[in-house]
Amino acid sequence: MAVITYRQALHDTLREEMLVDEDVFLIGEEIGVFEGSYKITAGLLDEFGEKRVRDTPIAEEGFVGAAVGAAMLGLRPVAELMTINFSLIALDQIVNHAAKIYGMFGGQCSVPMVMRTPGGGGQQLGATHSQNIELYYAFVPGLKVVAPSTPADARSLLLASIRDNDPVLFLENLSLYNTKGEVPEQAEQVEIGKAAVTRPGSDVTIIGYSRMATVAQQVAEKLADEEGISAEVVDLRSLRPLDRDTLVQSVRKTGCAVIAEDDWLTYGIGAEVAASLSDGAFDYLDVPVRRVAAAEVPLPYAKPLERAALPSADSLTTAVRETLDAVGRRR
């Protein structure tokens, strides 16, 4: 068991899978000579050469589509999309091709590929470079979408994604790359499609994914320490499929829930979570499910504006407190 960063976990897993499977190769912009915009692939070009680590022109549609085509012949491309914002350019190849080929041709040809990409705001990158649009993928049957929040999950879910025979959108987050956590030497097999209860509790359920799952964890710990609140934390981990059962089970126990998400509120990932909980835990909910999400604006560059627009430990804490107040469960 070693404590490593999320970045390192990704890097090591890519490397190991490349070592064990000749069919795995990396493709993307600036992943080789430049070593990756966020340095996930540092050193891999030197180790594996240009065949296995392929720098592409700036052509998201072209190179993602090429990865889909290569996967159709049985290779296992791991494409890096520099940030999820640029993935819009490749969306037709992902939604209309990668996600459709298996079904549209009656199950004759699978598309075993991974698209790694970070989302996330809070770095003052402005409106076009700070989006959380995983919804665009989570909505699409035929795709699988995972969003690990810890180095350990990053490792096991990347492993599972590469070995999976379907196209997987693997969501990372700019602000998670430097976070640290324990990662077992032998990665456990984490199943795609399963959420995790990362902290047991009884007063309230806090649900998050990606960065906000870690914020949820921190908030829960702080509330426990400082206010004796017992919050259960659920990390979605998989956005498609969505593990409704785990969510509902938790809320049937706690009777209330707060969802923390980095994307915009209306139609965001949390909308489905709230809808599912309101349905599956209808008789157990003491108050409405509360959502903490980004303000619905093109995210401004200036720090005070950006800070006001994005969810944080503070806004989540407020929402949890207010939820507990509403059910009269604050001590």
């Binding site: 589509g65 079904g103 041709f105 025979n165 379907d166 059962d245």
Partner: protein, 374 residues
Amino acid sequence: MAETATRSKSASSSGSSKTRRAGTRSGGNRSQRRASEVFPGESPQTLCDYYRQMALIRRFEERAAQGYTQAKIGGYCHLNLGEEATVVGLMSTLRSDDYLFTNYREHGYAIAKGIEPGRVMAELYGRSTGTSKGWGGSMHMFDVESGLLGGYGIVGGQVPLATGAALAIDYRSGDQVVMCQMGDGTTNIGSFHESLNIAALWNLPVVFVVVNNHLGMGTTVDKSSAESELYKRAVAYRMHGERVDGNDVVAVREASSRLVERARETGQPAMLETVSHRLKGHSVVDPGKYRSQESVEAAREADPVAAFRAQLISAEVLDEDGAVEIERQAEASADAAVAFADDSPHPNPETLFDYTYATPVANDSRRLPADPVF
């Protein structure tokens, strides 16, 4: 960059060694002498086989149009009428383990690549025996065995995929070639540009074939492409490009064979533009009112099936009876395809959730519209 070719009979500068060229039978009789003047180096058998295939595609497409009108076929239905020489010429140059990606106008390609016409018609009829088990329809045929890696309905969608398939061949040092068919209008979309650049940059064995039928749906090439000699666009990628008369099956075969074998041997991609006409509307429902009388006339006059038939007869490769016999057989095959399709079972609605994922996954939704979530 080659100039417009009408019929390049000379062998290509590279790659001819592996070309599957039909041997010339230097026969002693008059008709073979005559044939070898009009079609030097071609065996009558090969020529007849081309005609057989072209006639079959013609009849097949006519049946498809009928089936559509009878509401046996749904969705959109785009026909290869007028493109038979191109289709047959191109397909004759691919090995069965070479890969083909096409657009949605692909019935003829599917047949000429080696799929049973019955399975192609069954796909149009949406039956389980179809090339895509009824999941794809007219626009989305697929067959692993014959190497048809898909017809695609999104304009330009197949181009990055084909490039990626060529990348996989290169990755595995295979000797297959990918052919990527598309229409003239497709050269204006971004994926075309991105893919040709990538293919040239990485030296991938893919031949991009632009079937120039002068029209997108109703928009002419002149109104959509600033460089209307489309093959010249290859120059933006330092790629070889050339143009050939798409109504001439032998010319298409020659050009395609040269570029396919060049790709096979050197890995170099190329672009081939074939020029022909769309005989009917964009799809079966389109009356084509926007077309000028001349354009329609020109198309009819250039009809590659009729023209090739006349050539074969004048070259005495075939006589009228022989031609009629081939057409009769084509008709019989097309009818058999219809019968096969009509007799085939519809997919069972219970299979609805069978092809969402290749690897089963926890919590996959298998809800019908009336089912509650919980």
